[in-house]
């Protein structure tokens, strides 16, 4: 089979864990199919990350070093990946399903004349077909979808696979790239970072998520304390984001981020279908809610029926002791 090319997303100078997860699965499939594993790195400092790519099994690494990739604009990423595809000539292009990837996926597929299997929970190659399973209907159903198109792009939900290293010797190739941003029709005016959320939600091992039951600033403080004790990223349901207590970047669910940490605390979250769609694949789910009939208890590993204002002070104290 022709190679599998993995596009590695970079954030804050590191390859995202979700990209390494997708890469680990791509490596397994490549090995089963007797195909080479290639990687693409786009960014002003991409050369510094080549070793991490070869540590995860890429035998050829394509580097595009241009500051335009740090600009958060979609058009340069599409042009960059187009240049790498011409070199790599893959059967499959695999990437993590980040917001930046979702931004380019559709237009990239048209540009490359490719088929797309977006936001998959698993993928495989069977003969001529690329097969995947992807959540649909707000993750209430799982659709088995396939494509036998000559080039298929797959984007993988974070947490679908575990990232493991497998070091190899790699050839590093710098791909010439010139991009004229002048006639783009797009300019970045400003980037507003989500302050206070130091751990990246979609990459986090522990997530503490707040819902409507976290009624006010005092409730928020308890949630922030739990996150600080457990080293967690902070998430929120849409309902509590709308109250302004938590930033929109913290929103987990069908419209927000999809997370699958080892440990998920759902604090005062009722468990509406749109929220559950974004967190149901977490390994251990702890639900704290005063309504014993809240649907969140249907997916919780451990449930506590109680008001978070009573439970969290006790839980924070107990966890502090346990983790001291």
């Amino acid at each position: 089979m022709k190679p599998i090319l993995v596009f590695l997303s970079v954030q804050d100078g590191r390859i995202k864990r979700s990209s390494l997860e997708a890469m680990t699965r791509a490596r397994e499939v490549a090995s089963e199919q007797g195909a080479d594993l290639h990687a693409a790195l786009l960014g002003s400092k991409s050369s510094e990350l080549a070793t991490e790519a070869s540590n995860h099994g890429a035998t050829t690494i394509y580097l595009l070093s241009d500051p335009v990739f740090d600009s958060h604009l979609n058009a340069p990423v599409i042009a960059g990946l187009e240049a790498v595809i011409r070199k790599s000539d893959p059967r499959l292009l695999v990437m993590a399903s980040t917001e930046a990837v979702k931004d380019v996926l559709g237009s990239l597929s048209v540009r490359l004349d490719a088929a797309v299997l977006p936001d998959v929970a698993s993928f495989d190659v069977a003969g001529e077909e690329v097969v995947c399973q992807r959540p649909v209907m707000a993750a209430k159903m799982l659709a088995t979808t396939h494509s036998s198109h000559s080039l298929v792009i797959v984007s993988v939900r974070s947490g679908s696979y575990e990232a493991t290293p497998s070091p190899v010797d790699a050839t590093v190739e710098t791909v010439p790239f010139v991009f004229d941003a002048a006639d783009l029709g797009l300019t970045i005016r400003e980037i507003v970072s989500s302050a206070g959320n130091t751990v990246d939600l979609s990459e986090a091992r522990v997530v503490v998520a707040a819902g409507r039951g976290v009624r006010d600033e005092a409730g928020r403080d308890l949630v922030l304390e739990l996150a600080s004790i457990t080293g967690a990223a902070i998430g929120a349901s849409r309902a509590v984001v709308e109250t302004g207590l938590f930033p929109a970047t913290a929103q987990i669910g069908q419209t927000g981020k999809v997370v699958s940490p080892d440990l998920y605390f759902a604090v005062g979250i009722s468990g509406a279908i749109q929220h559950v769609a974004g967190m149901a694949n977490s390994r251990i789910i702890v639900a704290i809610n005063k309504d014993a009939d809240a649907p969140i208890f249907d997916v919780a590993t451990y449930g506590i029926v109680g008001d978070c204002f009573n439970i969290l002070p006790l839980l924070n104290a107990e966890l502090k002791k346990a983790l001291a």
Binding site: D103, A139, L186, R189, S194, S202, Y302
Partner: protein
């Protein structure tokens, strides 16, 4: 600004029991709402286009009742089998002889959650685009889009003509008033029956995901319950 909003009819995924009730895709409703707010007090157009079976005209009426000007229905009775690639090509055909300053779409549809058709359409039409908008304003001849990115919000200026895909986090779509509903009933919906392009992906089966192992509710005095939880997280689950 002259807008065209691409809308879709989808099953009501928010309902706990599926009854076959079909609704306007919530993301598309937000896109339309945003266009209505931007064009308030202006004579500029807000047209609609929908790809779907004949029965989807009900959803077009609902969107017209919200305040859109005119609508085109690309009637495809087997629309459920179309993938994003096919839908984007059908829409691109429509926009060959209908031009607008701004094309809006929902960022994804609630049933397939693919999120592809918008940016595919932009590429087919050669338009600059932005996805996952949570805020939208007109600024002279340009649009200013606030989009939700991975690590924060990105504020992008985009020259028209352009395409923007919208999140439902940007507004709460209006409920049509009686006057709008009556006016929408009298409106002519243009129809077209274009040739169905091929799909590149095929759904073979759809089934409920495997159930999670049933969990346990810890009951008793809050102090005891909390100690029990921490003990289980450490000893049983091994996560702390």
């Amino acid at each position: 600004m002259n807008f065209c909003v691409c809308i879709k009819q989808v099953p009501d995924v928010q309902a706990s029991v599926q009854t076959g009730r079909m609704v306007l895709n919530a993301y598309d409703a937000s896109a339309l709402e945003e266009a209505l707010v931007i064009n308030q007090g202006s004579e500029d157009r807000i047209d609609l286009v929908l790809v779907g079976p004949s029965s989807a005209s009900e959803t077009i009426r609902k969107a017209l009742a919200m305040g859109a000007s005119d609508a085109t229905h690309l009637v495809i009775d087997e629309a459920a089998a179309l993938d994003s690639h096919a839908v984007a090509h059908l829409l691109a055909g429509h926009f060959k002889d209908h031009t607008y300053d701004v094309i809006l779409t929902g960022k994804q549809s609630q049933d397939s959650d693919a999120g592809l058709a918008g940016s595919m359409l932009a590429e087919l039409l050669g338009l600059p685009y932005a996805t996952n908008a949570v805020g939208l304003k007109a600024d002279g001849d340009a649009m200013v889009v606030t989009r939700q990115g991975d690590a924060g919000q990105e504020i992008i200026e985009i020259s028209t003509p352009c395409l923007v895909t919208c999140s439902n986090d940007m507004n709460n779509p209006r409920i049509p008033a009686l006057k709008g509903i009556m006016a929408a009933k009298r409106k002519q919906i243009a129809t077209d029956t274009p040739e169905v392009p091929g799909s590149r992906t095929v759904i073979t089966t759809t089934a409920p995901p495997p159930n999670r192992e049933p969990g346990i509710k810890l009951e008793g005095e809050p102090e005891d319950v909390v100690s029990e939880l921490v003990r289980r997280l450490s000893e049983e689950a091994g996560v702390i």
